[in-house]
């Protein structure tokens, strides 16, 4: 059991957890993830480690409540426990002094882009970040990015904050302004990563994405997370999760991620029904 030291919503449906895991805190590197199981009947889901504090022996994960498991996770509060937590898993981000590096985070993807931005900065890169959100409320980690990056741009789809438009709009602007760009790291929903890859492909800018397939064990044993990169099958959990964006077959990834869509919907309905019953019960008791 792994104790939750703090839990707070930082955006609608997006919760930041600080969890006691001293060994993982000491070992983790940017780009790596953990696998979590919320309870004894729970499924195993991968979540990227957003930050760590070696002295406190804690790691930070940021969770968007979408399916049953992530919603159950987001029901947990500070002082409660996570049933199972294993990591760090996956290869760390490849960090070196590239020159100028742009970290792009779409929605909750910013939580994954953040640690790599920190590492890129520490390696001596001029670090720019572009953070996107549907609207103002969905922009996360702006202050944190401001602390580590040389420049931060915020974009919102509805124009309610920062630059109106997508992260790719801002990226294209920087390219058009003849800014020297040596590396782009893009993390977010698959359509966003794909769009970034299409923008940079034309200019042959090295671009890395972090893939988010369905996983079970996370150590290479099951092969459920396989993806197609450079026309070859890779196991994202041990060969990744970061890959050359220009070689990733995003269609296959998106399609494989839909494998259990009906089941996920069913599980979520059961969860929602249970939550509603609980609310009803509490209301009756009052």
């Amino acid at each position: 059991m792994y104790k939750i030291v703090s839990a707070e919503f930082i955006a609608p449906n997006v919760k930041k957890f600080i969890i006691e895991a001293p060994k993982i805190a000491r070992k983790r590197q940017a780009g790596q993830f953990v696998i979590i199981r919320v309870n004894d009947n729970g499924e195993r889901i991968p979540l990227t480690i957003s930050d760590a504090n070696i002295n406190e022996g804690t790691i930070t994960i940021i969770v968007q409540g979408i399916g049953k498991t992530t919603k159950e996770l987001n029901d947990l509060e500070s002082g409660e426990y996570i049933h199972d937590l294993v990591g760090p898993l996956g290869k760390p981000s490849h960090i070196e002094k590239f020159g100028t590096a742009i970290s792009i985070g779409g929605g909750v993807g910013t939580a994954i882009a953040y640690p790599t931005a920190v590492a890129l900065k520490q390696a001596g890169n001029y670090t720019i970040s572009i953070i996107g959100g549907r609207s103002k409320d969905f922009v996360i980690l702006e202050d944190e990015m401001n602390k580590v990056c040389d420049e931060v741009f915020v974009t919102t789809d509805d124009g309610s904050y920062g630059y109106p438009g997508f992260v790719t709009t801002k990226l294209q602007e920087l390219i058009d302004a003849k800014r020297k760009i040596d590396l782009v790291l893009a993390i977010g929903p698959i359509p966003m990563m794909k769009a970034v890859a299409e923008v940079t492909r034309k200019y042959k800018i090295k671009t890395v994405v972090s893939l988010n397939p369905i996983m079970v064990d996370g150590t290479g044993m099951c092969g459920g997370c396989r993806a197609t990169v450079d026309n070859k099958t890779v196991f994202v959990c041990v060969d990744g999760p970061e890959f050359d964006a220009h070689k990733v077959d995003f269609e296959t990834l998106e399609r494989r991620n839909r494998t259990y869509r009906e089941d996920e919907r069913l599980a979520l309905e059961t969860h929602t029904c249970k939550s509603e019953t609980a609310v009803l019960k509490t209301a009756n008791e009052l």
Partner: protein, 473 residues
């Protein structure tokens, strides 16, 4: 009962294992074999002629004193029989179920030269079950504490047997496991209907009572490395991480939705209990009324195909590129599969998976094969028959053609020596690796093999580790 002569003993037929009716069991996950009753066990035990020079023991990778325990069964001394087995085998309830006895002890049985061999495996299982059900698993006596610490990486059969021996020798033992449950392949791989998980849990609990410290959710290499274990105060490390990355067929369409490795399919169903979805959160392909093909001919393939039948498959096929003669699965598993309505398609090789426009598997293109001359494995090599391609409609495919090695230990412990396939090279008598204080055994050394071979490796390693620790004062 009056003492029987050998001639009389030879007249007793081999006692059949009571089992669930195939029509019933294909719809449930309960154990297929039901185990001997006391009467059946005694009768079977009487068939053993107590050879002065028994050959059966030489077939057992851990050297169980087979004649001795069987004679105790014949006398009705079941608990003493359990003690006798445990002198050599810490996990008899498991081995009695999943060992290929027909290739090991039973194939060497003298009775078997003229008649059917003594059912050693069934007797072992009976004795272990009797003990667990009547008095609980009893802990053997421990030697006084040595103060030495051993780290075991992996809680599968090799790790558990090694832990059992070392803790009895008085060492402090920590077992690290990557998954959230303990037991390795016994939990994630072998299905409930062949090895009930309660039995694995009981065996793990008995080791815990002996003082073995279990650390689940720990991937050695990713959190602590082997070197760090050694510098953190462990005097020796035993690496038993099992098989690793599943092989795929490397044919077109293999990433369609609905194509699984056997590891993933079985892990979802066994470890994650997907057959109880939505009570358990992990889903698996909706097999009910669908056509399922499992590629491969080993025990894992049989486990996968029989699991799919239990999940309600309309047609469940085994597709194998050689013939039934070359099939590596246990005869008993093949027999059980056939009884349950599994269809065997021999001499067929998959060329390509076919799918719908939205990426779901809906068929496989197969090519018929014929057998040529024996190949390196000694089995006749399958040769494609040109123009024999045909399409089989399937909704889910499970690829069960073996595993490579897991890269995590190799990447983080580069100073061990490895084969070109990534298996750790050891001295086969001591399981010593090229690195002082580090031992390895089980599938990470041999590649995919059996539970009992892994257990045998665990026991050899325990003996060698004990010697190493005693000499390293």
């Amino acid at each position: 009962m009056a003492k029987l002569s050998n001639k009389e003993k030879m007249k007793i037929p081999r006692q059949a294992m009571p089992e669930q009716d195939s029509a019933v069991r294909r719809n449930n996950f309960e154990e297929v074999n039901l185990g001997f009753t006391e009467e059946l066990a005694k009768m079977e035990a009487l068939r053993c002629i107590q050879c002065p020079k028994p050959t059966c023991v030489s077939g057992c990778p851990v050297g169980v004193k087979i004649g001795d325990f069987i004679s105790l069964v014949a006398e009705g001394e079941y608990l003493k029989a359990a003690e006798k087995i445990k002198e050599d085998n810490m996990l008899p309830a498991i081995c009695g179920r999943v060992c290929p006895q027909e290739e090991q002890c039973e194939v060497k049985c003298i009775v078997g030269k003229k008649n059917e061999p003594v059912a050693i495996g069934r007797l072992e299982r009976f004795v272990a079950d009797f003990e667990r059900q009547h008095v609980g698993i009893r802990e053997p006596k421990l030697k006084s504490k040595t103060g030495k610490r051993v780290a075991i990486v992996g809680s599968g059969p090799a790790g558990l047997s090694c832990a059992g021996d070392l803790v009895q020798m008085g060492h402090d033992v920590t077992v690290f496991e990557a998954l959230h449950e303990l037991g390795g392949v016994l939990i994630y791989g072998i299905p409930e209907f062949r090895l009930p998980k309660e039995i694995v849990k009981a065996e793990v609990e008995s080791l815990r009572k002996l003082g073995v410290d279990f650390q689940p959710n720990t991937v050695i290499g990713m959190s602590d490395t082997v070197d760090e274990l050694l510098s953190d105060g462990y005097d020796a490390v035993f690496i038993a991480v099992g098989a690793g990355l599943p092989y795929f067929l490397n044919i077109k369409g293999e990433n369609y939705n609905g194509v699984y490795s056997a590891n993933e399919f079985l892990t979802r169903v066994n470890l994650m209990k997907a057959y109880k979805f939505p009570d358990y959160d992990t889903p698996v392909f909706h097999v009910k009324d669908k056509n399922i093909a499992v590629f491969g001919g080993g025990n894992t393939a049989m486990d996968a195909v029989r699991t799919s039948k239990r999940l309600g498959a309309k047609n469940a096929y085994i597709i194998y590129r050689r013939s039934d003669v070359e099939m590596p699965a246990r005869k008993e598993e093949i027999h059980h599969a056939k009884e349950e309505g599994i269809e065997f398609i021999y001499l067929s090789n998959p060329l390509e998976f076919l799918g719908t426009a939205d990426g779901w598997l809906n068929g496989v293109k197969l090519q018929k094969m014929e057998l040529g001359e024996p190949d390196a494995s000694g089995r006749r090599k399958p040769i494609p028959i040109p123009g024999s391609e045909y399409i089989l409609d399937i909704d889910m495919a499970v690829v069960a053609i073996g595993n490579g090695s897991n890269p995590i230990i190799q990447k983080t412990t580069p100073d061990l020596t490895y084969t070109k396939w990534g298996n750790i090279i050891v001295d086969e008598n001591t399981m010593k690796t090229s690195k002082e204080g580090v031992f390895a055994g089980g599938d990470i050394v041999t590649g995919g093999a059996t539970v009992i071979l892994a257990m045998g490796a665990g026991r050899k390693a325990a003996a060698a580790i004990n010697e190493f620790l005693n000499c390293s004062n």
